[in-house]
């Protein structure tokens, strides 16, 4: 998945697990940038009675690099607190929740937002209310209203939301994790000598699951190194690198025969996310936990997995005869290094660059001077849409297909014009589109859809 359960250690710590990161110029408010950082993978909507919530013992951060060194220059930090109104009740709520201050809601969450820049901590707000999880028609009869109450204005023209959202990352998990199978092309899969399969439509494995989102909308000038408003797409000042992180304190002590848990020590990073699928697909199993503990500035040591991705070697084996040119491509993948680790320099794509410099760092790079597309393509740059991934990432971008195609060789001509990609490189997909997300998306902040209610959810079925 994008970054859901992508590393062994974090797969055991869901509330700290960064699942997806989005950063884009807000289409309905183009003077601003929206950044969404998701956590807690695969929330089943009926997962009560202790419904999903942020970790009060986790420090969540959205990090901005605006000078290209792969270290954070601006940090937005989110700290959560849980309150229990009636400790003697086992109930999440004792009646309908009709407002965020409802006395019927037993277990609420509140949070603070702090902006850190040049060592200065500025608390933007405290005591901001999260919405409850979407439980059902009796508990949360007007969930849209509750969710809209949880959109808070912050000083400086900023806006924030933190709470449950519908999962917007569409991917055929069941198929891809079954030995790289892609249902639309599974008739071409090697199948390891097992009976052949017939091509089939993709199945969105995350459909109707939820996540917990931290969504932040800020003026573009809040992110630039000199506080200016980015106007020129060719200016290095218009590009920022973004990544999400989550940290826990270094020590946890549990006392026997007690509910007491003591945490102490410095905050230690346990999860990180820049480009989708980076740690999942390009970092070896034995190094994923290490990767999660490091800043992007330390990513030079992982460059080998980008230059020679394991998946690029597997595709011609899994799909015999489909990727003959890719099979012969043995050079280091400078295209992938540019897309994922340095940004794309000027001169490769007309009117576009998102280069941050020579430092190899996995960051979601956004050229903020590129305006929102009037007719967006879910394939982003590969669809000639300069406002889409890998120029930042919008909620509807098909990052699975874009990255599959890039790894399959579709982007290699950017650095070697003599290379001809295989025809399949421009067509490979898991067969899904934004229409595969049943809950849909919003056209306004926070853009991800209203989460599915628990009552309204049927258990998983069979394809």
């Amino acid at each position: 998945m994008s970054s859901h359960r992508e590393a062994p250690a974090i797969s055991r710590d869901p509330v700290a697990d960064s699942t997806d990161l989005y950063a884009f110029v807000s289409p309905d408010d183009p003077g601003t940038v929206t950044i969404i950082s998701n956590y807690i993978p695969l929330e089943a909507p009926f997962g009560g009675p202790n419904f999903f919530e942020f970790g009060p013992d986790v420090r969540y951060r959205i990090n901005i690099d605006n000078d290209g060194d792969g270290d954070a220059d601006i940090i937005y930090e989110f700290a959560f607190e849980t309150t229990v109104a009636n400790a003697d009740s086992f109930l999440y709520n004792s009646g309908p929740i009709l407002s965020l201050d409802s006395a019927n809601w037993n277990r609420k969450q509140f949070y603070s937002v702090t902006r850190i820049s040049r060592g200065r901590r500025q608390v933007l707000a405290e005591g901001l209310a999260c919405p409850p999880c979407n439980i059902g028609p009796l508990s949360t009869p007007d969930y849209d209203m509750l969710a809209s109450q949880a959109i808070h204005g912050l000083p400086g023209g900023r806006t924030v939301f933190a709470g449950q959202r519908a999962e917007g990352f569409y991917v055929d998990l069941g198929s891809i994790f079954d030995l790289g199978n892609l249902r639309p092309f599974e008739n071409l899969h090697a199948t390891f000598g097992l009976p052949s399969l017939a091509a089939a439509p993709g199945v969105n494995g995350t459909d109707n699951f939820s996540v917990h989102s931290i969504a932040l909308k800020v003026p573009k000038s809040d992110l630039t190194r000199n506080g200016s408003n980015p106007a020129s797409a060719s200016s290095p000042d218009s590009v920022v690198g973004v990544w999400a992180s989550a940290s826990r304190q270094a020590a946890i002590v549990r006392e026997p025969w007690s509910e007491y848990v003591h945490e102490a020590g410095e905050w230690t990073q346990v999860s990180r996310l820049g480009n989708p699928l980076f740690n999942e697909v390009l970092v070896g199993m034995g190094f994923k936990d290490l990767w999660n503990s490091l800043p992007p500035s330390a990513d030079k040591r992982f460059a080998g997995g980008v230059q020679r991705p394991e998946l690029a070697a597997l595709l011609p084996v899994l799909y015999p005869g489909v990727f003959p040119n890719l099979a012969k491509l043995t050079a280091a993948r400078a295209d992938l290094v540019a897309i994922l680790l340095t940004g794309i320099p000027s001169g490769l794509i007309p009117g576009f660059q998102n280069l941050t410099g020579n430092t190899l760092a996995d960051m979601l790079r956004l050229n903020m001077a590129i305006p929102p597309a009037s007719n967006p393509s879910i394939f982003g740059l590969l669809g000639n849409d300069l406002a889409g991934f890998p120029n930042g990432r919008r909620v509807q971008d098909d990052v699975v297909a874009i990255e599959l195609r890039a790894i399959a060789g579709a982007t290699y001509p950017l650095v070697n014009s003599s290379y001809t990609p295989d025809a399949a490189a421009a067509a490979v997909t898991d067969g899904l589109t934004p229409a595969s997300v049943s809950r849909g998306f919003l056209s306004t902040f926070p853009y991800l859809g209203i989460p599915q209610g628990g009552y309204q959810t049927a258990p998983l079925g069979t394809v």
């Binding site: 020590a251 020590g265 905050w267």
Partner: protein
């Protein structure tokens, strides 16, 4: 001052000084105890006792100190 008187003076002065040291040490211990009480639980982590490096964590603070004897003593206590 006679020799015996001088010895007695030195002895009494030494005793007084020692007393002051004890009082001072007790006061310091009490101050330390009060400060420790304010800091809440303290966690000490010794990754490798042979190095004597002890990481001490309280609240969000974390400091490293090197004390081979203390590290060895703590390691022995845990065996």
């Amino acid at each position: 001052m006679s020799e015996s008187t001088r010895r007695g003076f030195v002895k009494r002065s030494a005793a007084a000084a020692a007393g002051m040291t004890v009082v001072g040490a007790l006061a310091a211990e009490q101050a330390d105890a009060k400060a420790a009480a304010k800091s809440g639980p303290v966690v000490a982590y010794i990754r490798e006792p042979r190095t004597g490096e002890i990481t001490v964590m309280a609240g969000e603070r974390q400091v490293k100190l090197e004390d081979r004897k203390l590290a060895a003593r703590l390691a022995r206590a845990a065996r």
